[in-house]
Assembly symmetry: C2
Homo-oligomer: 260 residues x 2
DNA sequence: AGTGTATAGTTGCTTTTTACAACTAAAAGA
DNA sequence: TCTTTTAGTTGTAAAAAGCAACTATACACT
């Protein structure tokens, strides 16, 4: 049968014995280590303010692209970051002070020419948060919320960040079609009209009220806060809270429902 | 904190002169540069054979996990690979000789302890191909198609590859629900019963014939090869070919169709 | 040729889900 | 009280999916 006949001992990292094939391996490993690409983590942090989708950008203080706006992020620190996810969470807190609204890995971009300094790879995460919950910390760099038009901002971005932003917007829109993801763009307690407005802003089209409510409520991911309402101009709206058990989607009929 | 400031010179590396009275920042930057995580690319290559989903695995010839089965992959080579995508394509050809059936980035896994040698990150791709089109090249390593049961194989895998495989299977299943992706598991010309059978094998449940046909055909991504049929026991089946304009899904009603 | 059987493909009806529009409800202000 | 504004519901028609029975076309066997 097939098994692992030689489990490595974690912690003991190889330089020990003089087994010749192991030595050869280490030689090649060392060589490879010198030619590793640089590895960074970048963030696409979205929020909705003033009836528009916004993304958090920072102004670069150093070369390359000095003075240019870019997605926040930077080198992963192997001593500090136990994992790529942890690195992303750390950078998110650094920038926004917010611990865990919604953070999901988007994609990894890596090539020889995306950075003039040479081969780099960046793993990009996208985060959603309520604009109220954020106080920009912007460590040394100038940071700002920037409105997104279509799938881009009004000016040039550093590196391939324009493409990354476009991909992130596409992913956001596509996830909106079948998940409750937009709740993370609102405060913890919100009303259905607010949620619908958020969808409309991001999808850039009006939605039918009764269909929207039916779909969102039938998925059974919202908890009604009985008694609590939000006042406004007209009739007060019922408050809800998101509860995340299971990963139900909006589609009652996926293809597997053809089952007989 | 380490920012994306100084250009790294890819040739001139790290162990240089010790701490002169340079800035604390530079000292830590050099240290970090020396401690870049290792970067690899791994592949989850799927095919359907003998009425079951199979994945391509290789037996590791080196430490760690020597003798253990693992996903094919390895270090990215910055001199050879212009991009991460190119690296994945190169490794795919190395293993299977197949150029471009279907190759999509899955996710990046990186942490301090997924490899006993230290901090590593791996960007994983998943590929689909028709089993007929493959001749295993298995360079130096022993390679084999292995049946997938549920979302795993019957034995232990190296590193965190069991988790990666499970994630890949989940992604494959979920994409099957709303795309034509399964056509890449079949030869270029195929029949609707063959396609339906492929769906059933991967989703692990029987589907209704007329609903399946309606859905697949209405999405209008299949070209009927008039005149050509595939013979078998009973009535011959019509041959089709996949044509990939647009990215229509199986869902005629996404949430944005609520538009008014 | 005639019959059985195996697989491919279609059709018709029922049920479920959605779209759309009109309706009621609850607040504020004149 | 009446108008305005926003929230939320209901009823109906249309669309899509589920389900089952039907037809079609091949081969094998007698």
């Amino acid at each position: 049968m097939i098994g692992c006949d030689d489990p490595a001992e974690p912690g003991k990292v190889g330089l020990t014995t003089a087994a010749s094939d192991e030595a050869e391996f280490l030689r090649r490993y060392d060589a490879a280590r010198y030619e590793k690409p640089s590895f960074t983590v970048d963030l696409v942090i979205f929020t909705v303010r003033d009836e528009h989708l916004h993304v958090l950008l920072v102004k670069r203080a150093e070369h390359p692209f000095k003075g240019c706006w870019a997605l926040p992020g930077g080198f992963l620190d192997p001593r500090r970051d136990a994992s790529v996810d942890a690195c992303a969470a750390r950078k998110l807190i650094q920038e926004t002070g917010v611990r865990a609204p919604y953070l999901e890995q988007l994609k990894t971009y890596g090539s020889r020419d995306r950075d003039p300094r040479g081969w780099t790879a960046t793993t990009v995460y996208f985060a959603l948060m309520a604009s109220e919950s954020v106080r920009l910390l912007g460590n040394q760099a100038e940071a700002s919320w920037v409105g997104v038009r279509g799938d881009q901002v009004d000016f040039e971005l550093a590196f391939d960040h324009a493409q990354i932003l476009a991909d992130a917007v596409e992913r956001l829109r596509s996830k909106l079609e079948y998940t409750h993801i937009a709740v993370h763009l609102l405060p913890e307690e919100f009303t259905l009209p607010e949620l619908q407005r958020t969808y409309e802003i991001i999808l850039q089209q009006p939605l039918d009220k009764s269909s929207f409510r039916r779909r969102v409520i039938q998925a059974d991911m919202l908890e009604e806060l009985t008694g609590k309402q939000r006042d406004g101009f007209g009739r007060p709206a019922q408050l809800y809270r998101f509860r995340d058990y299971g990963r139900r989607t909006f589609f009652p009929r996926s293809i597997s429902r053809h089952a007989r």
